[in-house]
């Protein structure tokens, strides 16, 4: 019961701040929410990937613009794809990203997040929110979110870990695939990768 009240309250709170929330506040709110769950959820602590994906699906994914992410990962070839191909590409790439990086959550060990000073011009529609993951006995890891303002609020379109963009790091691999086997070949390659990961999980 206590837990329910807590969640209902935080949901209400989240809703009321939704409209005017600045991008850095949004990153902080979601990070805090997710970390709270990660620290307390028994299944997650025991390394349950399915639970991690579920959590990401509910809490994190609504704030991502996967279409933009996919376009960024594909680069120039994106415009050659038909709208239908773009949709399929986005769906497969989303599955791949979610699956691989959900694992990072199950590997959580006492990290904390530090938020760097954030300044934003009043009319800005594109910003970078910079954070740092601190870990005991290790160097801090830079974790930046590139965000854009859409009608539905701020959305993340790139995540950069220690200077490595998880999105543009695919550009060359995707380009290779498109050059060899076309857009459909790329869709198939990502789909196959997803299938093999799914099969390996069992």
């Amino acid at each position: 019961m206590k837990r329910f009240v807590f969640f209902a309250l935080s949901a209400l709170l989240a809703f009321s701040v939704w409209a005017q929330e600045t991008p850095d506040a949004m990153v902080k709110r979601i990070t805090d929410e997710v970390l709270l769950i990660v620290r307390t959820d028994k299944n997650l602590i025991n390394g349950d990937t399915k639970r991690a994906i579920e959590l990401i699906d509910q809490k994190v994914l609504p704030h991502f613009n996967f279409q933009h992410m996919t376009a960024l990962a594909v680069g120039k070839d994106w415009r050659k794809a038909t709208p239908e191909q773009q949709q399929r590409l986005t769906a497969e790439f989303k599955t791949l990203l979610v699956r691989t990086y959900s694992n990072a959550l199950t590997g959580y060990k006492n990290q904390t997040v530090r938020y760097k000073n954030f300044k934003m011009n009043p009319g800005a529609t594109e910003v970078t929110v910079q954070t740092e993951v601190l870990q005991p006995g290790g160097q801090p890891i830079q974790l930046d979110y590139s965000m854009e303002k859409l009608d539905k609020g701020w959305k993340v379109y790139d995540v950069v870990v220690g200077g490595i963009s998880l999105v543009t790091n695919y550009r060359d691999q995707f380009g290779q695939e498109v050059r060899a086997n076309g857009i459909d070949g790329l869709i198939k390659a990502i789909a196959n990768k997803n299938k093999s990961l799914e099969a390996g999980k069992k």
């Binding site: 680069g75 290790g138 830079q142 220690g162 200077g163 790091n169 550009r171 060359d172 691999q173 290779q176």
Partner: protein
């Protein structure tokens, strides 16, 4: 030229690098990625390194990770981190950042004394941030181009520029100047295994995320280096 370099930097690593360069110029066939002119050689070497990693290095790192308790691992990391702060400071100075350089030397002094020979990173807790610098980054700041991506045996991903950086890094490395050969070798291996162990958690991510692991690792390395050269704030690239 190699002879002069070898006189300055000591023979072994120079010879090793010379052999790599010779091999590269022999096998290299131009790939279609301008950042990776030696792709043929690199892919082959990447495969060899993967083999060495699977059979020797990774099992060692896993064993170390399992056996050593967290405080021990933290101390080992801190100790070698402290040793490296000296030349991190020097490199910051060479890159025209005397403030950062002074902070690094301050870290070295604090951690070597209050931090008990560097076993504890007291300086970080006091707000003196740990930096990441090496001669490869310094050469880049001085305007040297990267010379193309290059996978070295055992050392793994570098660029030609970073390979020359590695040469200088190793020449001045305090660990390589330990007189007692057994201590020197043990320290070198321990540091290597400790670094590899710290990378274990990312293994699975790379394995699962990559369509082509070779390209994934290469592009991650190049992005990471660019980020380090610009101290975490690289200028935005055109999409």
């Amino acid at each position: 030229m190699m002879k002069t370099i070898s006189k300055i930097f000591g023979g072994r690593l120079t010879g090793f690098l010379a052999a790599v360069m010779l091999l590269v110029s022999g096998v290299a066939a131009a790939g279609d990625n301008p950042a990776d002119p030696y792709e043929g050689f690199n892919r082959a070497m990447f495969g060899v390194n993967e083999g060495i990693d699977t059979v020797i290095v990774k099992p060692l790192a896993k064993g170390y990770d399992a056996v050593a308790p967290l405080p021990v691992k933290a101390s080992v990391g801190n100790f070698f981190g402290n040793v490296s702060d000296l030349f991190i400071g020097v490199n910051n100075g060479l890159q025209g950042k005397p403030g950062s350089g002074a902070s690094d030397i301050g870290r070295l002094l604090i951690n070597s004394t209050i931090g008990i020979f560097g076993l504890f990173d007291v300086a970080s807790e006091m707000g003196l941030e740990k930096h990441n610098e090496d001669f490869g980054q310094t050469f880049a700041r001085w305007g040297a181009g990267d010379g193309g991506y290059l996978v070295l045996p055992i050392f793994g991903p570098r660029t030609v520029r970073d390979s020359f950086g590695l040469l200088v890094d190793s020449a001045v490395d305090p660990v390589s100047h330990i007189d007692n050969i057994r201590v020197r070798n043990s320290a070198t291996v321990l540091r290597f295994v400790d670094v590899r162990a710290s990378l274990l958690p990312s293994d699975k991510v790379v394995e699962e995320a990559a369509l082509d692991k070779y390209s994934y690792v290469r592009d991650a390395y190049l992005q990471r280096r660019r980020n380090l050269i610009f101290d975490g704030n690289p200028p935005k690239l055109e999409d």
